[in-house]
Amino acid sequence: MYGSRLQTLAIASVVTLAGGFALAAFYAPMDADQGFMQKIFYLHVPLAIVALGGFVFGAYQAVQHLRTGDPSRDLKSYVAIHMSLILGIGALVTGSIWARASWGKWWVWDEPTLVAFLIIFLLYCTYQPLRFSIEDRDRQARYASVFAVTAGVFTPLNFLAVRLADPLIHPRTLDSQDNLPGEMRLAFLVCLLGMALLYVTLWKFELTHKHARAQLRSLKRKLGAADAARGRSAAPEATVS
């Protein structure tokens, strides 16, 4: 059952995230260079880090899927990437707002982290179209996992390449996490933890939904009620266990 501990997780993520944002607002000091604007940091960076972590987590599940052939791993990989894409949109939008606030431009190419993130985001945007263009379900699952593994390895490599491409980075809090003042650091870490908890909660929530729907379908078939014909779909089918 995917639904177990969902309640605990939901409460924990809300408490941690709210606590983190409160710390960011009232406890962490104002940034010397950027002032109040720097507060976006506590939202934007956890969003981006958790989204990237989710992509790598999706790749891990995909490896397990290829290794064991267990279809539930494919579902987990699919939902992980799906959730990361949603958080990724948030990271791109907040990053863009930050760029506008800092440099008066909605997009800056000399911010390597943002650029690298965009490339990875664009790559993962093709995950759903790829799945959708393969009809056979087994093949769809296998090919999607191959994509997830490749893209998962690509993620850190791309960061390396883009970061090195622009050695003259603006001196920014983002690139100097090691020398963050203690209060800022604590607030940031709590925000990051909260975002990670939220990601796990949403991931489990989505899995629970898919699993419930699969069980409903199987029950429907058993009772002989008409099952609506399923069209071609990009989402993997949950297995009833």
Binding site: M37, I40, V93, T94, L202, F205, H209, R213, L216
Partner: protein, 66 residues
Amino acid sequence: MSDNLPDNGGYVAAAYLVFPALVLIYVAIMAIRLSRLERDLAQLNEAADRPAPDEVAEPREEVRAT
């Protein structure tokens, strides 16, 4: 805190609004899916009330047809 709030505090507010907006969109999508689940469950409930729908329903229709 409010005394040193700079001009572009609006950007910070906007960024922090993006986040609940995303979550709300997700909740809305899940709401649609939930209502679909509920509808299916209601159908199933009806199906469960009629015992063995296949065997009962079909012969009856054949009788009517002849």
